[in-house]
């Protein structure tokens, strides 16, 4: 027959060890801590976790709307996207000039673009200036101000 060991006796409950443990001082958390936790449980309830799916659906809708606006937005946005951008390059013996890159973040204003073309002309880099002028006219077909300064 199986002889119950210490563990079996203990697990049956009401062992001398358990009785001794229960006689011990039973400390509780400080009242201030009780208050803090109960307050935070009520504050969290105000956040209403059942509204989380609704908030998620709203953010998805907003994101889709934003993507559609970017893809099919006004033509001006497309112009801005296609417009050439600036990078730094050192000309021979000339001060550093800003040439165009495809970085979509840094889009120049027409006047800054024209100033760059003028700088290319002053540096004697007429071929590059002509190429930039061609691109400028294609991007801003009706733009007239300041054109005289950069004419070949």
């Amino acid at each position: 027959m199986h002889r119950p060991d210490e563990l079996d006796e203990y697990l049956r409950g009401d062992s001398p060890l358990s009785r001794q443990y229960r006689r011990e001082n039973a400390p509780l958390p400080p009242h201030a801590l009780d208050r803090r936790i109960l307050e935070s449980s009520r504050e969290a309830r105000g956040a209403a976790p059942q509204l989380a799916p609704l908030a998620f659906a709203a953010s998805v809708l907003l994101s889709v709307a934003l993507v559609l606006a970017i893809l099919f937005g006004p033509q001006t946005a497309q112009h801005a996207k296609n417009a050439p951008r600036v990078v730094r390059a050192a000309a021979h013996g000339a001060p550093a000039l800003r040439l165009y890159s495809s970085d979509p973040v840094h889009v120049r204003t027409p006047s800054a673009w024209l100033a760059d073309i003028a700088a290319l002309r002053r540096a004697g880099r007429n071929r590059e200036a002509d190429e930039q002028l061609r691109r400028f006219r294609s991007a801003y077909p009706g733009y007239a101000a300041g054109m005289a300064a950069i004419a070949p």
Binding site: S15, L28, I37, L38, S40
Partner: protein, 205 residues
């Protein structure tokens, strides 16, 4: 044959009510478990300040994740599993901090002391304030102490202790067996001098 569904325990029902927005259910749940949880943490980390921090961390986690709560098991196993994980993280952080302090000569020069709850004098003071049983409990290896506390404070079975502590049933059983054997031995040893003192007093009277 249909598998019989295990009925929900009262605490799990309270937690479901809290999840669904009834804050009074949390108050009832808190009142039932604050004592056992606090004592579990206090006797695990052996420092009142650290135990209070962990106590708050456990409840904050419970509150923050209430929307995901599902009553799959006894609520106490859910709560004490969070507590177990927080305690493991605490000991890991503590070990890392102590190792960093040991490896960094500048840190040693500036702050040679161990954390307050690790200082030998603080530990000795903690032990002195305890009865023989609590002092013996305090000197058990952490895993054995945890198994004993989980059973005493929450009435968890060996299977539930295994689930809370992420170990196999046999491991949990072995930890609890070692714990009670050592505790009983310590108690017996503590009782012998007391009995001798009583005998000596009776003889002199």
């Amino acid at each position: 044959m249909l598998a019989r569904m295990e009925p929900l325990d009262a605490d799990a029902r309270l937690m479901l009510r809290y999840r669904d927005g009834h804050s009074e259910a949390f108050s009832a749940l808190y009142a039932r478990h604050k004592g056992p949880l606090y004592r579990y943490l206090l006797r695990q980390v052996r420092n009142a300040g650290a135990a209070s921090d962990l106590f708050q961390e456990v409840w904050s986690h419970l509150i923050a994740t209430r929307a995901r709560y599902e009553a799959r098991a006894k609520f106490a196993t859910y709560l004490f599993h969070i507590a177990h994980n927080c305690t493991i993280d605490f000991f890991r952080r503590d070990r890392t901090a102590r190792r960093a302090a040991r490896d960094d000569p500048e840190a040693q020069a500036v702050e040679p002391e161990a954390p307050e709850y690790q200082r030998p004098d603080a530990m000795a003071e903690f032990v002195e304030q305890q009865s023989a049983l609590l002092a013996a409990l305090s000197s058990l290896p952490r895993e054995q102490r945890e198994a004993f506390l989980l059973h005493e404070e929450t009435g968890l079975t060996i299977e539930e202790i295994a689930r809370v502590t992420d170990v196999g049933v046999e491991t949990a059983k072995s930890r609890l067996r070692y714990a009670i054997t050592k505790l009983k031995k310590s108690l017996t040893e503590a009782q012998i001098p007391a009995a001798r003192r009583l005998e000596a007093r009776n003889a002199s009277a």
